[in-house]
């Protein structure tokens, strides 16, 4: 029962609402207090007060008051609505939906509550609920077009295409006067309907519909592209060809149109002459077409000739991106060789006549050829770092001020593993052009790769806003600069600053959260503006925003840290590797002590700083729970990523969630059964199961028995491991895996002997410095006695690699 107020207080209450809407929080608060003085238990007023307090940033107090308000007046829709708003503000959308629903039950006609609920539902992807809300909203105001469109979108997103189309058609039928030709909303809605028809797979009908609206529609390009697409799908070749030619006449720089044109003309892959003819036709019309020439040179039998023409043209002009334009052809080894030969040919020719015609720009002709060759030998498919170095040095001799050469040199050095030198060289390149953001960013990245985190930050700081009070990091945060956060996090991991590394990874995580939330405003905005197709695209994009490579990297980094923390082997800030000679138990104790001390410090700090400080992150008592938070998104959005599945296995095995661990293992097996880590996991899973099986619930046992099919449960693991070792002889990563597993499956081996064998791998003929780095990490992680010796030997073997220095 709403509680009655006297007339005077009623007007006061209205004033509170007005003040809240106008953001005059202080005045609103005062008025609310006035009402509460006379009616201390007036729920609505308490609720409004809570809302104002919340806006002022005092969330906890607001929540307490909001609850009190509900207790005082359970039957008030205002109280429930406010409660929902408070939850929404906290981003607890599920609870918010519940509160809104209660409010709506009490006040079914409130458009405001209905709308708030609807947006939350679509944000949470509760499509059935969204359809219901949208239907109700349409019933309330059926004369507004966007309500119809919104219902169609709801059905569309829920996957019911027929229903979505019906809704749109029903609205069109109810129109008495046809909408004006310049009505943008109508034009968009009609195109939207067209895409829905096409999505149902009924291209003939989509085409017919498109033809009927083509004349009046405002989005010409979309009409033309869709028509071409439908005609292709319907196999109406001639018309499709015409449609694509029409598109090329509009924009001949769109590679996609060429590909599609060739496809509909039915030119087979081998018939390169015919393909070339098409490109030639257009490049004759407009000789400036670059994309055309680059693609044209991709066809084989005429390849040499075309490539020569193209290369000569580009190198004469000194176009820096020549290599980047051509490197996609390198997957074909014959083309790779042709290009290499051509570049050499060109270089020799230019070198000999360089004397007489000294080019005014050192980067044209010979210089460009040197640059091309340096990149060629640095590229992973045609790598020969010595040669690359030779060419780049010649280039630098010729043009000492050229950023490109210097940058390439740094990149070549990076590939030799010498991050120290690479960072120095890249910084030299940066100094050649201080106004270039690109080279600045590169230099910062190389510094981070070399663990110079402070210097890296300083370098990026040159290009951030310098008026931000807390230094460049704050600005990078505002700009959601995820590459920096990820690189810096990984550098902090290498430096052993667990807390700071976790902080960076959490930052990336949170930025993705923000991107997820950013769509909220568009649920209403896009509908109001009538841009439905773009809106649907956006909703679908948001659904997989976390499959972004930077999320994957940050999440994997964080999971790894949390795993180490759980295993008690992380060297947290205080405990560095100095005491690695002490035995393992002692080290663990020390680490525990340090963690405890840190935790206490963190708790103290947490009270002062509401933003989670780094120490608190490193001091979590439940690292596996935190790891799971990162992991869930990884497994949901990038299930095809082997690293993700491997990380999932590690976490779930430690949490004794055997069914889930098995799920990850099976997924990893399906992705790459011969991967060394997958072998390790298979053995570890079976070992774990053997000791734990009896204690598991019978239903779980049944699942594991039937789904664990990688090897027979009775397999002799020692034998299995030895077989694996023998089968992959000559591959160091596989050898590492097999040796690591010996400790688990072979009674004769213990930690020390395994470590010895790992260290001995250094003598293997095919070992690379990357492999050695992996071994180094393992030895360091287990606090092995072999560590120093191994590092010394590795440094002798690869003197240029910074990691062993």
């Amino acid at each position: 029962m709403p509680q009655p107020l006297s007339a005077k207080e009623n007007s006061l209450f209205r004033q509170v609402i007005r003040n809240y809407e106008d953001k005059q929080y202080k005045r609103g608060l005062k008025a609310a207090e006035q009402i509460l003085k006379k009616n201390p238990k007036h729920g609505d007023t308490m609720a409004m007060k809570a809302l104002i307090i919340n806006q002022q940033g005092n969330t906890d107090e607001a929540f307490a008051l909001g609850k009190q308000a509900l207790m005082a007046d359970m039957k008030s829709h205002i109280c429930w609505h406010v409660y929902g708003l408070l939850y929404r503000h906290q981003k607890n959308f599920e609870e918010a939906i519940k509160a809104y629903k209660s409010a709506l039950k009490l006040e079914p006609d409130s458009l405001q509550i209905q709308r708030d609920l609807a947006f939350l539902q679509v944000q949470m992807r509760d499509y059935q609920g969204y359809i219901q809300s949208r239907t109700a909203m349409l019933q309330a105001r059926s004369q507004i077009r966007q309500n119809w469109t919104a219902l169609a979108v709801a059905h569309h997103l829920a996957g019911d295409l027929t229903q979505a189309e019906t809704v749109l058609t029903k609205y069109e039928e109810s129109l008495k006067i046809p909408p004006s030709k310049t009505d943008f909303e109508n034009s968009e809605a009609v195109m939207y309907k067209n895409t829905i028809i096409a999505e149902q797979g009924d291209y003939q009908r989509a085409l017919d519909h498109l033809e009927s609206i083509a004349k009046t529609n405002l989005d010409r390009l979309a009409v033309m592209e869709l028509r071409a697409e439908y005609l292709t799908k319907l196999e109406k070749k001639e018309e499709a060809v015409k449609a694509y030619r029409a598109l090329l006449d509009r924009n001949a720089e769109h590679p996609d149109y060429y590909n599609k044109l060739i496809e509909v003309m039915g030119i087979p892959d081998e018939d390169t002459a015919a393909k070339k003819a098409i490109y030639d036709e257009y490049s004759e019309k407009k000789p400036s077409l670059r994309c055309c020439q680059a693609s044209a040179s991709g066809f084989c039998d005429v390849f040499r000739e075309a490539a020569k023409k193209y290369l000569t043209f580009m190198l004469d002009k000194g176009v820096p991106s020549t290599f980047a334009n051509l490197k996609h052809l390198y997957v074909d080894s014959s083309k790779k060789e042709v290009l290499e030969a051509l570049a050499h040919e060109y270089y020799e020719a230019k070198k000999s006549d360089a004397g007489e015609a000294k080019a005014d720009d050192p980067f044209k002709g010979e210089g460009a050829a040197l640059y091309y060759l340096a990149q060629h030998y640095n590229f992973h498919l045609s790598r020969d770092l010595t040669k690359a170095m030779e060419f780049v040095n010649k280039g630098i001799e010729k043009a000492p001020d050229n950023v490109e050469f210097q940058m390439t040199k740094a990149r070549i050095i990076k590939h030799t593993g010498n991050t120290q030198k690479a960072s120095e060289e890249m910084d030299k390149a940066r100094n050649l052009d201080l106004k270039d953001r690109y080279i600045n960013t590169k230099a910062a990245k190389y510094q981070l790769r070399n663990n110079e985190t402070e210097k890296g930050l300083e370098t990026v700081g040159l290009f951030t806003r310098n008026d931000s009070p807390a230094g460049p990091l704050n600005d990078l945060l505002d700009m959601q600069c995820i590459w920096f956060m990820t690189e810096d996090g990984e550098a902090q991991v290498r430096k052993g600053n667990v807390g700071l590394a976790l902080k960076r990874f959490h930052t990336v995580y949170n930025i993705f959260d923000v991107w997820q939330e950013d769509q909220f405003d568009f649920h209403s905005f896009s509908l109001r503006k009538g841009q439905i197709r773009a809106y649907v695209d956006m909703v679908r994009w948001e659904d997989h925003v976390r499959d972004h490579p930077f999320y994957t990297r940050a999440a994997l980094g964080a999971v790894k840290l949390y795993l180490d923390m759980h295993d008690g082997k992380t060297l947290t800030d205080g405990v560095n590797g100095d005491d690695k000679n002490g035995d393992a138990a002692e080290r663990k104790k020390a680490a525990k002590k340090a963690r405890k001390a840190e935790r206490e410090a963190a708790e103290k700090a947490a009270k002062q700083d509401p933003n989670k400080p780094k120490a608190a992150l490193a001091a979590t008592t439940e690292p596996l729970v935190e790891a799971t938070k990162f992991l869930v998104h990884l497994l949901t959005y990038t299930p095809k990523n082997l690293e993700a599945q491997l990380a999932g296995f590690e976490v779930y095995l430690r949490r004794e969630k055997y069914v889930l661990a098995l799920g990850c293992l099976n997924a990893a097996l399906a992705l790459d059964a011969s991967h060394p880590t997958v072998h390790e996991h298979t053995i570890r899973f079976l070992t774990a199961i053997r000791s734990k099986m009896a204690s598991l619930p019978p239903k779980v046992q049944e699942v594991i028995k039937s789904e664990f099919t990688a090897i027979a449960p009775s397999t002799d693991l020692e034998e299995f491991n030895d077989e694996f070792f023998a089968k992959h002889k000559g591959s160091v990563p596989h050898a590492i895996a097999a040796i690591k597993m010996k400790e688990l499956v072979d009674e004769d081996e213990d930690k020390a002997s395994v470590e010895k064998q790992l260290a001995a791998l250094l003598g293997a003929p095919e070992i690379t410095f990357e492999d050695a780095q992996t071994i180094l990490t393992i030895l360091r992680g287990s606090g092995s006695k072999e560590l120093d010796e191994f590092k010394k030997k590795a440094a002798e073997k690869w003197p240029e690699v910074t990691a062993f220095a």
Binding site: L5, N10, S142, Q146, Y171, D183, F184, K699, V700, V703
Partner: protein, 123 residues
Amino acid sequence: MAEPQPPNLHEGATTGDVEDEVQAAKSAEDRKAAAAMASMGSNGADDANGSTAVDQEAASKAMKSLGGEANKPAAAVQKKVKVDAADVTLLVDQLDLTKPKATELLKAHDGDAVKAMKASIAV
């Protein structure tokens, strides 16, 4: 006795979004800005009301015919499956799920916990 409320009460005005109710603008400048915003995408704010173009009756009729169909598919999805509480607990524990999610998963597999677990880890 119900207390009178302002007709266009919207508590969420700062965070939410007022789509078709025209909010009282605070100042002349705000009003101008609002008018400009409204006319930006929709070619004249009048279209938004659409009262000239839409036959009210036809619209509501069209809607009624929709209403009947819309409810059908939703009802079909809701199948009655008995679910054992112990199985729900098992799934919550083993698969790291929330209770509603676990219940949903069980229902989708006729209440068979083994089947549900197998399906959840199927590659």
